[in-house]
Structures are given as structure tokens and as C-alpha cells.
Amino acid sequence: MTVLTVTTSRPDTAAAAARTSTMLSRAGLDRWLSALLAAERRILAPVEVAPGRTEYRQLATVAPAATGLGRGLPVMSPKQAWFPRTEPLLRITREGRAISIADPNLKFRPTIIFGARPCDAAAPEILAPLFGWDSHDVFFEQRRKNLAFVVLACRQPVDAACFCTSVGVDPTGENCGDVLLTEWEDGRFWAEAHTPVGEELLAVIPADEAAAAPDPAVLAARRKQWRANALRRFDSQRVAGALREHFDDPMWKDWAAACVSCGTCAFVCPTCHCFDLQEQMHGSEGLRQKNWDACTFGLFTRHTSGHNPRPDRASRWRQRVNHKFRYYPEKFRRLLCTGCGRCIRQCPAGLDLLANLVALDALAPAALSVTAPALDRAAAAGVAAGAPANSPNIYRPYLMKIAALREEAPDVRTLRLEFADPDEGGKFDFRVGQFGLYGALGEGESTFCIASSPTQRGYIECTFRAAGRVTRALRRLDVGDTLGFRGPYGNSFPVEAWKGKNLLFVAGGIGLPPLRSVLAYCLDHRADYGQITVVYGAKTSADLVYKEELATWEKRTDMDLRLCIDWKPNANGRGLSQDAAEDGWRPINRHDPAATQLDSAQRRHTAFVPQLVAAVKPVAVNSVAIVCGPPVMIGFTIQSLRQSGFPDRDVFTTLENRMKCGLGKCGRCNIGSVYVCKEGPVFTAEEIQRLPHDS
């Protein structure tokens, strides 16, 4: 793993820039600022807003800049310039049942961040690969394109919380920003342009500012000294190594013991970029918004069911540190930290990131193995992330019309969706196992797999349970109504590689929809596969979804369908009854499921899914198993399959982490260096073993 040192906000142009430079008096600096203001640029600069407190503020006049320039570090980073705390992504108009959408403003004012320290100027460059991998976040990219940095070199760290040199940020900013200002001994500023944009900025400096340039040798010596002033506190490679080795250590509990689960650390941070997608209507007008979010909030990963993969403060703090110093570097080859120290200064609970990093450095194994990330998978290739062709906005959905709907089970409904624009529908393609984001426009989006098969053209289907805000709103829609769809997203099941193999499908409850797509595809290509066995269970017979298909599949002789429903509780309320849960459902041998004799006349059983899997006695040789359902069921089924001889690499399942963007941007689905929305949701049991286990 090589971690690149971040040097400039615009590396592509830096090399080519012919440097121009000048010496500026304090008064000259003010005149330069006036000239920039006159040029209608938006200028953000540190301003003293209260005694001892500076903040980035938009300058209306030059005067306030004098109060903040070079004084401490503003409390908040300037990240709102590239990532505002709330940003409109889509305009929604609702008139009765008619819905229309439009892109918001995509033009951003040229902005100069004046007097930023190198640690703030380093941030956009660090985030660029995230906002630009595979799909491009036009909001970030356009804002960044219109951003210029006039950086002020640090001669001394602001305080003990600064650790830029430990994360590869140069406090002297030698190659940093569009223009670098270095305060010289005589109180003048040495201004150097590093980019063509910087040269343009310097070009407006009044010509009378001609003073001798500093002697290059002296400048180099000073820089060396200033760099040395900012002590290196830890080695980031060693920290990454220690993070890998000490995931489960009790120290995380200690380190996060005071945490109050707020978002301060993430919100003051120049590089924290996780966001929430939210929609709100006001009368008939509404917005989809991108809002700051933080992995330290308990709600960040909590599923609607209440299950939370990161339920406590320790696991959330561990995620924050790992994401910055291990996962993000593994994936994007950059540390997700500029060493500004803001989280240490602002945390209301006094958590101490730097102390934690120093401790991790000390814990690092002596011989650092330069291991590859636990999982380094290519993002789903082949099918580009879908976005309506006429817009650069990746958060803009296709509009779909509900062509038909079907009640599957209590609270579970299937929608058949057709593209409002048939052209888009004609071009649309996906692979089995992929998912999409279905939007009840004005309420939000929910993640469901595409439950139909790609062999069915012209429409897609989804099946969902009404659980929370969005799914309830989706349930209120009727045939003819409009909803939004983004997708297809994520990877898919390797149905091509499975040719010639036996397939065992195992599903529980609402876990059948993702498998239905695969199964439909494989049945359409029946000759390509060996035996096909399906084990599907739900709480009661009413909760089984796709009852019509189940009836058809039950009759097919080229596949073996086995259904089960849960045991009913004993009459005395303690334990489970040995009896059938409902009429017509034959109990299996609960204590020794494999001893149950199954026959083809009786396909309905009383059992838990993993037990029925054991009873089916699946052949492991030349077979793959595909498992979907609630996390507990998946866990026990994998155990049951292991006992039947299935190696973990032949067991496929889907991870259903909470998702928002589906595009590998919002950070919500991140586990280890993997974004489940892009590199998943399909994983083998073996791959899941290798992921950090907080899912």
C-alpha cells in the first residue's frame, strides 16, 4: 500500500504551471484582496468572530480579513465550500398525483479560500477519488472546479493538536494551493503561484509591489525549520497495520468511553464526507437534499428493523478511525485526514484522536506486512450506474409508472414498474442480483433488489415490506402513480460461472425477492444448470411471498421446491411444539433434521429454514448455494451448509447494509475497504469472513 502525499489542490495543472511570484507588504495584500473582491469572486477568509475564535467568513470588505489571517485555525473547516451542510440535489413538484423533477442549480460561483492553512487546502484533493470513482458527483466536482486556494504557510503548529506532518501534509505548503503565501521575517508575504489559476490571481496585483524576493537558499532553510517545528507523532503505515491487528481489542471501549455520539468531530473535519439523502416537501414543492451525516451517530447504520451493525459508541469510534487511517487509504490510496486537529479541539467529550493514533503506532507489529486490503474487488463492471442520459446528476432518478401491483403477504407488496420514457426503458439493462433505489418522491428512497429477471424486458419489479417512512409512502401509491428509480447498482450473482452446477436456493421471509430474479433467469436457461433445489420459509403460510410462482414451481419436475413455516409455541407458552404449525404442513425431525424422510408428494414442512436445509441433505459436490434472508437465518444456514460439506466459497449471499446513495459516495454501507452498494451486495460466505465483522 502506498499512500500518496497530498501536495496541491490541482495536481493535473501543477506540474505545467510556470511559476510567477511576488513579494507583498501587508498593505499590498489588502490591495490585492480589494482587487479580487472587485473581480466579483466570492472570497472566504478566516475572520475573528469572537475573542480568540476565528471562522471562515465571506468577505464583503477587506477589513475583517486582518482579524483572522494567520491567527489560529478557524473552528470549522472550509468544507462547506465543496460540501455544504445541506445541498439541494433535485427539485420535486407534486400536483395531485402528477410528479415532475428537475435538476437544481449546477453552476457555482468562483470562490477563493484566502488564508487557508495547508491542512485545509489538502482536503478536496483527498476527496476527489471518492466523489469521482465510477460515477461523478457533479456537485462536488463543479464546486471544486470553481475553487481556488490562497494558502498561508505555517511556521509553527497552531497548538499541540496539529499533526499534519504525520499524515503527509507539508505545513510550509511548498507545493500547495493555487497561490502560496509565506510570511517573511520583515512582515511581508512571499506569494508564489503554483497553478495557472494562481497566476491569474497574482496577475491582478498592482504593479508597484516590487520588492526583493527571498533568497531561495534561506527560504529552503526556513522551510526545513518550520517543518521540523511540526513534530511527526506517528507513522501512518504502522497505524494502518495496528488497526488491522487490533480490531477487536478492548481499548476501543476505553477510547470511546466519553463519546456522546454527536457529529461534531465529523462536521468540523475537512475530510469527513459521509452524507444523508433526505427529501422534504413544502406544499407542492420539494427537494431531495444531501445533508452532512456522521458515522458516530447511532442512527447512521441502524436498520429499520432496529438491528444495528454498529450498536455502540466503541464500534462507531473504531469505524471512524479505521475509515480514515485504514479503509480509505486501502481503497483510494490517501489518508482521510489532514492533521488539522479540529476534532481534538472541538469534541465536546474530549476524545483524543491523536493520542489514539500514537498508541496505535506503538501497538504496530514489528514487521509490517504490506498486505493488500482484505477484499479488493472491482466495482461491478459492464453495466454503468444508471442515470437518465440527459442529466449529469447521479442523484436524479428515472421516473417510473406503476403498471401493476400485487399483495404478496401482510404488508408485502410487489410493484411492476415501467419507464415513463420508453426510450430509457428500451436502453435499460441489468444483471441478476443488482438493486436499485426506489423513491416515493418527496419522502425519500429505499433500497430493494430488482426482483424480476433481466430476461423480462420493458419493466422491472420490486417486492417490499412496508416498514418505515419511505416504504409506507411507497405503499400508499397506486397503479398509474409515479415513482423514482435509480439503478441498477451493485454487483451481481455470477450465473455464467455457475453453468453446469447444481443450485441450492435458500430464502427466508422477504429474502426471496433477490433470489426470484436469479431463479427466473436460471429457469429461463434451464439446460445450463444441474439440479435446482429451493428451500424457502416464512413465519406463517400467509407470510410466504410470490404465492402464485410458488404454486407453479411446486408442480415443476425439473426443480425441487421445499417450503417451511415456523414451529408454533407449545400450549404452555414454553418452548416449541412438535406439532405442525398449520394444517397440511408436516413437521420435520427437529432434533435430527437430516433423519427426516422427505418425499416429493409432501413439499410443505414445519421447520426453521436452516433445519429444512439439513433435512434436504443437499449435495455439496459441484454445487453452489445462494442464501438470502434475515441475518440470523443466514448465519445458521451457513453453519448448516458447512455441515453438509459446502465450502464457504460456494455459498453466496447478499449483505443488506443500510444504504443511501447506492453509488459509493455517502459512506453509509462501508465495511472495511468495501462499499457494499458497489462491490456488493453479493458476497460469498468466505469473503464475508474476511471483512471486519461489524455488519
Binding site: G263, Q280, W292
Partner: protein, 463 residues
């Protein structure tokens, strides 16, 4: 009568759709089903006429009319909100209207503090027999709102908001940050150090809640100390949050008995927790210390407060009624300004909020299992750090702490945006003192203010 049979959330949207350009005021009435709704019905069946501007939403009882409903109605574009139910003594559920009245008293003062025009919120008792009173109330309210015009400042909340205002606003917040002083170390041979070590070694407590110094900047960090060896790390900061907030964590609540280094702020907060049945006083050993960190002895939390009060007798406790120093002086200055200025001041403050919820996390009493702002079925308020969302959050926080906030200042100290949250809380403390002679945290045996009532609570503002 225009009534809407939708979930409350949707009814609110339906009740006050944005009609750009319309000058007619839009009014929302929340009424109790047993009295006012029946009264309005009577007016209807008696063919009495009244302006069509009002949308009526029926609730089981005025006791059910959450402050969130009222705020939401304003945010949806209502120009005036009427709340009405049974006359005192007539509540179908005995005392729902008395409890509601307490809330209205507090809400009115809160809205007044932030500069909401109180004429926009009308409260009334209208019985099932008073069809004529309903008609007259609506008529008068509509007339008055016609005169006042649309409630522009409220309706511009969303439009006036610029997401980058924290960057764009050049104004300092005009309210100095709380002073920070250096933490005092707890020496092993000091009376406190000895008492802590003894209690921990003897098993009288299983752990001690106290403060450590963060390594990097020496900022205070709350700690739960189990190992007597670690006691040397303890310090007592003059401010820095409130240790009682740690009781929000299940793993801390499980430790019993537990020792708490108890300053005035912790004692007051624990008293409120005891009062609200969130803390068992028998399981807490308070190590009382005065403002300078001197040990005053062991007690239960109420006892600790008494010791501290006695020791600090020379320092008069802030009197929400009369004190003219510090926070109270700032509040006086604010309240001396015209309403429009107060509104402008608070909207500027609300604009700065980034919705980090540090204030909520740092507060020992913000302890809802699930915060209203985190609930999304229904989604009462925007989670975005935008105009309406921040307005709602600031008000909901202050209101839910009215009669509970003990004034420790943890929220304000935590706020990275420099919002003077304590000022809003102080306004509520003063209101609570003025109307009910109540100071929170003083008496763990008293009934919590907002769930209590008196039949002679103020009522002159109710029609």
C-alpha cells in the same frame, strides 16, 4: 367545517398548502374532540357561518396537542394557530387541559423570547355547547390575522436560509463564550483522593465517575474509573459538561453502587434524574465538591446538593427572577429589544446550527430513548441543517428542557457553532420561576414541572 381525515402529519400539509400570492390568512385549529370539536359541530348544524380560513384538526384531548404540532403548523405556512379544548374542570380525561395549559404558558414565553408574534397563537376554552363562542373566536381571530397579514418572517425561514451562511455571515454572535479555567488535579493524599480510594478499595462503590485530562490538549474527558491505580488521573474542571450525562449509557447504569464526583451541576442534574425515576438515589454515592474542588463529604445526590449549598453560601445561587449578572443580564438585554430584533437575533443563531447534536449529547437531561428529531414515522421536522429544521430543533430542545434544565451550560459549551443555547434555557428557567416558583433540580421529591399542574395556574391569556 373543513376537517381532514388523514394522519396528523399529512393533515397539516393539507391544512396549509402554500398558495403563493394569496393574502387571505390561513389558520389551523387544533381542537379536542369532546368539547371544542363538538362545539364547532354545533355551530355547523345550527347553520352559523364563520370565515372559511380555518382548518380544524381534531385530537382526543388538549393534553395530546404536542408543541411539535403547533410549530409544525407554523412551518407549513399557517398564519395563525388556535388551540382549543374543554374548560378547566371539564376535561374528559380529568386533567389533560390543565397539563396543556402549563405547556402553553411555557411555550408562549419561549416563542416570545425568540420574537414570535404571540397574537399568532390563540388559546381558548370552548365547550360542546358553545357553538356561538367558536364562531366568534374564529371570526375575531380571522379578522385580527387579516389585519396582521401573512406571517412573512416565519414563511421565509426556508427561503432566507443560505446553506453556507456559517461561511457567509460576518457577524460575531454577540454573546461571549463561557470562560474556561484550568482543571484542578485530585491528589491521592487530598481528602477527596483518600475518600475515593477508600470507597473503591472497600467495594463501597464499583466505579467512580470523574474527569481525566485528554493527553493532547489537556481538555477534560469524562471517565469511569474502576481501577484504584487510575485515580491519579482524576482532575476537577471548573466547567466542562456534566458527569450526570454518563447515566444515559446502559453500561454505566448497570454499575451499582457507583461513585460520582459531584459539583453543583451534577447534584442538580442527578436530582432531576431521581425526580424522573431515571436514577435510583440509593445506588449513587455522591462525592460532593465545591466550586474550587474542595471535598465536602459523601452523601446521596440530594444530600450532596445541601452540602454544596451550605459551603457555597457566600456565592448566591443564580436567581432566575432577580439576578442581573452574567447570563441573566444578557437575557435582560435581549428581552429589552423589540420583538423583530429578537427574531432576527435568534434566526441568525439558528442559521449557524450544523445539527451536530453535541448540545443534546452533552446535556445530562436530554435523555429521550429516541429523540423527536430522530424519528421519521412521521418525520416531524427536517433533519437538514436548514432554516425550518434548525428553527424546530432549537425550539424543541429548549421546550423539552423547560422545567428540567438546571443551567449547567454543558450544551452551550459543547456547541461548535457558538450558539448561545444557554440564553434560551435561561429564558425558560426564568419563566418557570416566574409562573410556578419552581427551580429544577432542587427537590427530587417534587413532581416534574411539565407533568404536574395546579388548578390556579395562570389563565388570563386563554379566551
Amino acid at each position: 367545517m373543513a376537517e381532514v381525515h388523514l394522519p396528523l402529519q399529512d393533515s397539516l400539509q393539507a391544512a396549509s398548502p402554500a398558495v403563493p400570492g394569496s393574502l387571505e390568512p390561513r389558520l389551523v385549529a387544533f381542537v379536542c374532540r369532546w368539547c371544542t370539536y363538538a362545539g364547532a359541530d354545533l355551530a355547523g348544524t345550527s347553520r352559523m357561518t364563520y370565515p372559511p380560513n380555518v382548518r380544524t384538526l381534531m385530537l382526543p384531548c388538549t393534553g395530546r396537542i404536542d408543541v411539535a404540532f403547533i410549530l409544525r403548523a407554523f412551518l407549513e405556512g399557517a398564519d395563525g394557530v388556535l388551540v382549543s379544548g374543554c374548560h378547566p374542570g371539564d376535561c374528559h380525561y380529568t386533567a389533560g387541559n390543565y397539563r396543556a395549559r402549563r405547556r402553553w404558558i411555557l411555550l408562549r414565553d419561549l416563542l416570545d423570547t425568540i420574537g414570535v408574534d404571540l397574537r399568532r397563537l390563540q388559546l381558548a376554552w370552548i365547550s360542546a355547547a358553545e357553538g356561538a363562542k367558536w364562531v366568534k373566536t374564529i371570526q375575531n381571530f380571522t379578522d385580527e390575522m387579516r389585519q396582521l397579514g401573512r406571517y412573512e418572517p416565519m414563511q421565509r425561514l426556508a427561503a432566507d436560509f443560505t446553506p453556507e451562511l456559517a461561511l457567509a455571515d460576518g457577524q460575531p454572535n454577540g454573546y461571549a463564550a463561557l470562560p474556561a479555567a484550568a482543571p484542578v488535579a485530585v491528589h491521592a493524599d487530598s481528602p477527596l483522593g483518600q475518600a475515593l480510594a477508600q470507597a473503591l478499595q472497600a467495594g463501597a462503590v464499583k466505579a467512580i465517575l470523574g474527569w481525566k485530562k485528554q493527553a493532547t490538549l489537556g481538555r477534560p474527558q469524562a471517565a469511569c474509573i474502576v481501577d484504584p491505580q487510575a485515580l491519579v488521573e482524576l482532575v476537577i474542571p471548573p466547567r466542562a459538561g456534566n458527569l450526570a450525562r454518563l447515566f444515559k449509557h446502559p453500561e454505566i447504569r448497570q454499575i451499582q453502587p457507583i461513585g460520582v464526583i459531584t459539583r453543583r451541576a451534577e447534584a442538580l442534574a442527578m436530582n432531576v434524574l431521581i425526580q424522573e425515576k431515571q436514577l435510583d438515589p440509593g445506588r449513587v454515592v455522591a462525592f460532593a465538591v465545591d466550586g474550587a474542588g474542595h471535598f465536602l463529604g459523601l452523601a446521596d445526590p440530594p444530600g450532596a446538593l445541601k452540602k454544596i449549598e451550605a459551603a457555597e453560601a457566600s456565592v448566591p445561587p443564580p436567581d432566575p427572577g432577580a439576578s442581573t449578572t452574567g447570563l441573566w443580564a444578557a437575557l435582560d438585554r435581549l428581552m429589552a429589544q423589540p420583538r423583530e430584533e429578537r427574531w432576527a437575533f435568534w434566526m441568525k443563531q439558528a442559521q449557524k446550527c450544523i445539527r451536530c447534536y453535541a448540545c443534546r449529547g452533552a446535556c445530562p437531561l436530554c435523555n429521550c430513548h429516541e429523540c423527536l428529531m430522530d424519528k421519521n414515522v412521521p418525520q416531524w421536522f427536517p433533519t437538514a441543517a436548514d432554516g425550518p429544521g434548525n428553527f424546530a430543533w432549537q425550539l424543541i430542545r429548549a421546550f423539552h428542557l423547560a422545567g428540567r434544565c438546571i443551567g449547567c451550560g454543558s450544551c452551550q459549551e459543547a456547541c461548535p457553532a457558538g450558539i448561545p443555547l444557554g440564553l434560551l434555557d435561561a429564558a425558560m428557567m426564568r419563566s418557570v420561576w416566574k409562573h410556578f416558583g419552581y427551580r429544577s433540580g432542587m427537590d427530587p421529591a417534587a413532581a416534574p414541572l411539565q407533568s404536574d399542574f395546579r388548578t390556579d395556574d395562570r389563565a388570563e391569556f386563554i379566551l
